[in-house]
């Protein structure tokens, strides 16, 4: 009698054990497969990224070359210097030419640090900072390498990716934000440190401003303005 009452629980335990064993083996197998797929995927993304970076380098090189060639062609072609100076000014206004000059470099770090609550920098903050720099007479501005032009929009894509000129400006390493502005250094420094920096610091961000001779890249997007004849 005692033996038979023991047989039932033992059988049950054995069944559960067997079931779990198979399940375990299967999960282990699929986990291994998943890991394999993931590492394959990661590897392919990495190789895509490498290709894209390579391409980026070539494009930039080519861009430099062509810009220099064009400059030469314009001058050698006998276009008058006044005309060329005028063209330069318009192109600086539309932001389609790399520029350099005295200015400031602002770096903002909104990454979480130990024992410190940090509110991340928002698109509104960026718009406000750029606005203050314009008020201070900035002649050219860039945010993480994207030139700020009249038609620049700064919006969120998803929950955290910030787009400037439709390009994500997320940085995976280094300080998250680097803003360059050329113009009167004293005025830029004064306006930013007094009007913007205190508010950002209050939100826990690390903010630094330095005087610097800056080189600001050109806008490489399309002008939204259509040709007059196409309308």
């Amino acid at each position: 009698m005692k033996r038979s009452s023991l047989a039932i629980p033992l059988t049950l335990v054995a069944i559960v054990l067997g079931f779990l064993l198979t399940l375990q083996m299967q999960t282990q197998k699929s986990v291994l497969e998943l890991e394999k797929i993931q590492s394959q995927r990661a590897a392919s993304v990495v190789s895509f990224l490498k290709d894209a970076q390579e391409e980026n380098k070539i494009f930039k090189e080519r861009h430099k070359e062509l810009t220099a060639q064009l400059e030469g062609a314009r001058q050698e072609g006998g276009a008058s210097p006044t005309l060329l100076a005028e063209l330069d000014r318009y192109r600086m206004m539309e932001g389609t030419v790399d520029v350099q000059g005295q200015g400031i470099m602002i770096t903002i770090d909104d990454r979480q640090q130990e024992h410190k609550v940090v509110f991340p920098l928002t698109t509104d903050d960026l718009l406000r900072i750029i606005n203050i720099l314009k008020l201070a007479g900035a002649e050219a501005i860039s945010v993480n390498g994207q030139r700020i032009v009249a038609s620049t929009s700064i919006v969120l894509s998803g929950t955290s990716t910030q787009l400037v000129n439709q390009v994500p400006i997320t940085r995976t390493d280094g300080v998250p934000y680097e803003i360059l502005a050329s113009g009167n250094q004293d005025q830029l420094l004064d306006y930013f440190t007094n009007l913007e920096a205190p508010g950002l610091k209050q939100y826990g961000m690390s903010v630094s401003v330095v005087r610097k001779t800056v080189t600001i890249p050109s806008y490489k997007g399309v002008s939204p303005l259509k040709e007059p004849e196409s309308r």
Binding site: L21, R41, L66, Y90, M93, D98, G101, I148, S151
Partner: protein
């Protein structure tokens, strides 16, 4: 329940194995390590891809201009063409076309209580946000109270007025934009526009969107002076 000695042992061993299996199972389901890493790589990939697209597009433009020189066209003529294009793109010519008009105005029935006054007024960021979203919606040209929005235009509140292009602007603020009317209207479908609608109902500010039947005229802006900045000239 009475168990024989080896039965007890069997049960103990079985339960031990059972426990171990459970633990490994739970651990196995919790592996998410490599996924996070792929995410950041993927983000950089998207970013650099976009940058490359921009570069490709810009290269095509440069190539086109270069082609004109190489084809032996008169240099002055090519430069002049480019000049006209840049002049127009920088906002130095009037633009006329289909578009929309947004009017924002302070509430007339202002409550006297100090803390609430904020909600009865139109602030600089309202205008800045709307301009930002209109650009994002593909606006070709924008003006606020007749001031063309240029590359260096500030929209800054200094007390009683809002400064735009160095001029003092008072409410009502009329934001006009030329562009695809449907895109421009849907560009305004963002949280901020809805919030202004709530302020309109609660506090009586004006938030009006019109699509005029006649063409919208965006005036030209002023030429910019560059005192500290110059183009980078690459040595050939």
């Amino acid at each position: 329940m009475e168990l024989p000695k080896n039965g007890k042992m069997m049960l103990t061993v079985a339960s031990l194995i059972l426990g171990m299996l459970f633990v490994t199972l739970i651990k196995a389901t919790g592996t998410t390590g490599p996924v996070a890493r792929t995410d950041t790589t993927l983000a950089s990939l998207v970013q650099i891809g976009q940058e490359n697209d921009q570069l490709k597009n810009d290269l095509a433009k440069l190539q086109e201009e270069m082609g004109k020189f190489q084809a032996g066209q008169n240099a002055s003529k090519v430069v002049l063409e480019q000049l006209e294009k840049s002049k127009r793109n920088s906002g130095l010519t009037k633009v006329t076309g289909p578009g929309i008009r947004v009017t924002l105005d302070d509430a007339s029935n202002r409550d006297t209580s100090e803390q609430d006054i904020y909600y009865y007024l139109i602030h600089e960021e309202y205008i800045r946000q709307i301009v930002n979203w209109l650009w994002n919606g593909g606006a070709e040209a924008i003006a606020v109270n007749g001031q063309r929005i240029m590359g260096n235009t500030e929209i800054f509140c200094s007390g009683a007025f809002i400064q735009i292009n160095g001029t003092r602007q008072m409410p009502p603020y009329v934001i006009e934009a030329v562009g695809d009317v449907n895109y421009l209207q849907s560009a305004l479908n963002f949280y901020f526009w809805d919030r202004l609608g709530e302020y309109q109902e609660q506090y009586g500010i004006t938030r009006r969107l019109e699509v005029p039947t006649e063409p919208v005229v965006i005036p030209e802006g002023k030429i910019q002076q560059f005192r500290y900045t110059e183009p980078v000239k690459e040595a050939k």
